[in-house]
Symmetry: C2
Subunit: 250 residues, 2 copies
């Protein structure tokens, strides 16, 4: 079988698109094996390095995985939530950093989405979720915790909160939104006072979810959003001053 390609175009890109579409259409089932590189090269009438470049494109999108050895080859990946999440986070992080999205916008988006999960989380939270929430709150109160670890625990708290909604698609979306904000959140240096306040808000939030009180949870979330914005505004103000002193316009 010879598959025709447009000449004067990027072969490897065309091949990658062809195979990708075949996967999306379901012509190649998950865990199915693609023809060997040599066979593909013969089919598309190109050299093996060109086929390999196409396969690497697909591998970068987590669409296939490759395995060496006899009975090796390229296999269609069953895209799991974990890999998809990694992808989402990468894209979201890049989007935020390369488009100079301001802290306020990213923050607003993140908390708006998270607030959407609260009613479901209140309705469905299981003991395991509540335990996870409490565990992270306890960790956040640890003496001598670095800012980085505090942020990580914060992320874990919010992910547990979202997971309580028991909707994997929702969790996927939110995980992307929350994790993509990590670089922005890491700029904040958490003083003892701000930590205490955040922990209190987390506690209120956890209590509301435990009590299945969506209204109270939403209120607590609003307060947390407002306080996060306030902290963000502080660092921005602190950054604006040295910049004006240190650099000359031009």
């Amino acid at each position: 079988m010879r598959t025709e390609l447009d000449s004067d175009r990027d072969y490897s890109q065309q091949i990658a698109r062809t195979i990708r579409d075949a996967i999306l259409d379901g012509q190649l089932p998950a865990d199915g094996r693609l023809p060997s590189e040599s066979d593909l090269a013969a089919q598309f009438n190109v050299s093996r390095p060109t086929v390999r470049e196409a396969l690497k494109r697909l591998a970068a999108q987590n669409l296939i995985r490759t395995q060496r050895g006899a009975s090796g080859g390229a296999f269609v990946n069953r895209l799991g939530f974990d890999e998809a999440q990694e992808h989402l986070v990468t894209t979201a992080t890049l989007l935020l950093s390369m488009n100079r999205v301001d802290f306020e916008t990213a923050c607003e988006s993140r908390f708006a989405l998270e607030r959407a999960c609260l009613p479901l989380a209140c309705a469905r939270r299981a003991p395991a979720h509540l335990a996870a929430l409490r565990a992270e709150i306890a960790r956040q109160g640890t003496e001598g915790l670095s800012d980085e670890d505090f942020c990580a625990s914060d992320v874990a708290f919010h992910r547990a909160l979202v997971d309580a909604a028991a909707n994997p698609v929702l969790s996927w979306h939110l995980a992307g939104a929350v994790e993509a904000m990590q670089p922005l959140m890491n700029m904040i240096t958490f003083t003892a006072r701000s930590r205490a306040r955040i922990i209190t808000l987390h506690q209120t939030l956890a209590d509301a979810v435990a009590a299945q009180d969506a209204q109270a949870a939403s209120t607590a979330m609003d307060a947390l959003a407002a306080y996060t914005l306030e902290l963000g505004g502080q660092i921005r103000a602190r950054r604006a001053r040295p910049a004006r002193e240190g650099t000359s316009a031009g």
Copy 2:
């Protein structure tokens, strides 16, 4: 400069990760030019084809673009919202299709996220947004509109609704959620009665946003979500019967 790589590992993958991280860290600015393939090959102490495979991985993620000719090379892409959205939709579509996510879960996720936009949309909606909403509603009432076009208009309506929140990050997330559901929505055959009901609900929603009544908008959204779920349940029931007749258990 020689950059060390782990041996007994996939070189092209390591190189891709290294460059990707450099881009994410901002060491390589947007529209900045990477060293030539030969230079990169020398730096990483590998051959040019290996470097090329790494670059193709990055190109597949829209992180770089390549250009031939003198003063050509690989350039860091400024990842715009459009490209990022395309990426998000691809990933989300694949996620839904490959993990057999049921209609209820996807639907719940989508409407929960969309509901989160309503307060902001009510607060900030501009005349242009309202006009877009009304235009789509008018289109949905067109005689002889195909199911596909009706779906497309539905997507456009909801995107306009989200855009009214005037938060690009939020719009990005929602566009992914809404568009990824298209394949599932396209299964529904919209009868005249169901169309009329949906249009009424859209009208209620648009009116509430126009009146900046977030409470009413949320109620309308709930009704729309419930009705969409009902329609989805109908097609599932309709599908279950022929399946039982046509296939033998095996």
